[in-house]
Subunit: 210 residues, 4 copies
DNA sequence: AATGAATGAGGATTCATTCAT
DNA sequence: AATGAATGAATCCTCATTCAT
């Protein structure tokens, strides 16, 4: 992606309506995901994506206004899955079962990143992409906002006396702790999940004990 | 950087001997650092670097065999500063002052990343670069090794009964905890440092209490 | 052409299917032929070729993976014309008309290089190109093989008792005699053809008289 | 060599007077010869030559005005050796011993190219260089002139009745026959020399029998 | 005279995007 | 709507030659 490409529109050109359209959009995203996973972002070309997806380049531009929009959509998908996981978590149930249990569950909530090596590598690359292209930043910001809100809601419900502002800061750091899993090498994920839980409980305890 | 450029030699072409040479190497690195800081890795061109450094392109290639070699040198510099900081830490002193004090200091050791926003942003970008280009990986690996060893040494000295293999895993995760600081937004660094300390002490305690 | 370019793929990127494609490939080859004829191989640039062919550089690379591939195609064309000429020669007819007549015809077969100055100069340059770029060598080797086989077949048919191995050596030298025509200055081609015939008959006689 | 370099002066910048100068000129030529032999003309750089010769680039330009001048000198050396060989040939002696003997010896004269593979490959490359750079053409022309004169003198002395103009044409072709040896693969040199002799005698006979 | 760092125009190749069919 | 050939600005890197020291 050259400089000129920056600051372009990134919304999909059209909402895929016909099933064929959706299939093509999926094919494009799948191809991109695969290529990115295998070779990283460097050297990713639209022609390559099209070829890998089994459709002509021209058609790629039927659904995406430019190359970044594809990566944008990829990240969007990925983040929304993460957010769905967070959303689906039945926090209320656990909160009724006592502080310790709640703490443990909260830390589990934190552990969203998939423990599957494939997803973790992909996540790492996508996280890198966010840093690479300004347009993708907004996606990250929205996601961060979502995660932070999720944490704040939980911590409040768990009984924290901290101000929302302070809880938001903590929520932001909790997200960072969660993201360590992406950068953790495959060989130590199992242990890392455990340590992540310990670390999370430790810092969360602060706001519950105050 | 296109695909063909990958897997190239990355050692600086020559050791700068004449004072002018050293100045030029510095100018190149400074220019690159500045450009990377401002616009990220994307769109970084050799001509841009040369222009920014106030020297002709040809001269850039007098000191570096290719573009990546410059980024390589940049990362090398950066990591070696981090390693020097770790090395300079007088761990022994603290170990004599009791477990709690030692724990706290250990966690401080962990907090190596500069708290200055500039360095943290640069560090984040350089960390991203490592993921982008295979050649840079070796630099990271060596650095990781160094940090892990440093942690293991400390934890052993602090009295951990864990096996070296297990301590190495922990050391690896401690590094990840440390790196969270790079991804922490400027507004919450102050708090993040504190939480990072808490989190670190919590996970380190495991291996000391066993 | 710099060193890095050597050992690259040289097959045309795609078989020209649409008439326009074929026309463009022709235009590229014609432009290259013309430029090479006028200025030699040195200083031949892809931009020059494109400009001369009246198409953008990018389009040149639509049909040829790199500069050498163009020269490769040029040589391929040229050699295949030569081989067609050899193939088209009705050797059998002549063999029945007696040794002397056959000998004369054989030597005529040998005289394949065009007597037109343009083609001879071009041939000389292309022959030089083969020596310049390793990839082109395989083309020459295949052509040599073809010519040698052609000679051996003829000499056998003409009644030579020599072993195939020996005839192959002779065939290889006959090719060299044929190629003298390329290096012969325009002013003496007419005579050179005659002398070439004499020379050829003389050395061929050896294997028929043994 | 880029286009701009063409049409430059090619005489050595200074006649090497001091022994050190001569040694350096020799070193430059030897290095160039070696590099050309190994990698051909493509990719030959002055820096490479200097490094291989063990002297600084700047010094190369003390003795040669530009890169081509080096190749020029190399070819000059090579051709002068060939001419010395021709000169040293005691043709008169042989002419007194009868036509057949003379013919045979004449054809030997023709066989000047070294039968050593190294020299033959080098000669082939140098011959190619002549075709590549216009400036080198004059060297070839002078050499051709020399060889033609040598042949004419011999043929006249041997009793040919042909006009000088016609003998010059024959002489020119005899040179071409001689040059076939350069293009002959190593495996068949031995046989090629024999066939070259036969071919030469055959065409020379024409002018003696008329 | 000797040096070798400095120069910068030039060249091969790429690739996001368009648009004629 | 679908296609995929066409485009050409942009990018990395080279290297003959110079000239300050």
């Amino acid at each position: 992606m050259t400089k000129q490409q920056l600051s372009r529109r990134v919304e999909p050109r059209k909402l895929p309506s016909r099933s064929n359209s959706r299939a093509r959009v999926e094919a494009i995203l799948a191809a991109t995901r695969e290529l990115i996973f295998r070779h990283g972002l460097e050297g990713l070309t639209t022609n390559q994506i099209a070829e890998h997806a089994g459709i002509p380049v021209g058609s790629v531009y039927q659904y995406f206004p430019n190359k970044q929009a594809i990566v944008y959509a990829l990240i969007q998908d990925w983040l929304s899955v993460l957010e769905d996981k967070l959303d689906a978590f039945p926090m209320e149930d656990y909160l009724q079962k006592g502080r310790d249990y709640a703490l443990q569950q909260m830390s589990m909530t934190v552990t969203v990143p998939s423990t599957f090596d494939y997803e973790r590598k992909l996540g790492r690359i996508l996280l890198g992409a966010i840093d690479l292209y300004p347009e993708l930043r907004e996606l990250n910001d929205a996601h961060v906002e979502f995660c932070v809100e999720s944490s704040v809601k939980f911590l409040k419900a768990a009984g924290s006396k901290w101000s929302v502002a302070r809880l938001r800061k903590l929520g932001r750091y909790i997200l960072e702790i969660r993201r360590t899993l992406y950068y953790t090498p495959d060989e130590i994920v199992a242990d890392a999940i455990k340590w992540q839980e310990i670390a999370t409980i430790a810092i969360i305890s602060q706001c519950l004990d105050d």
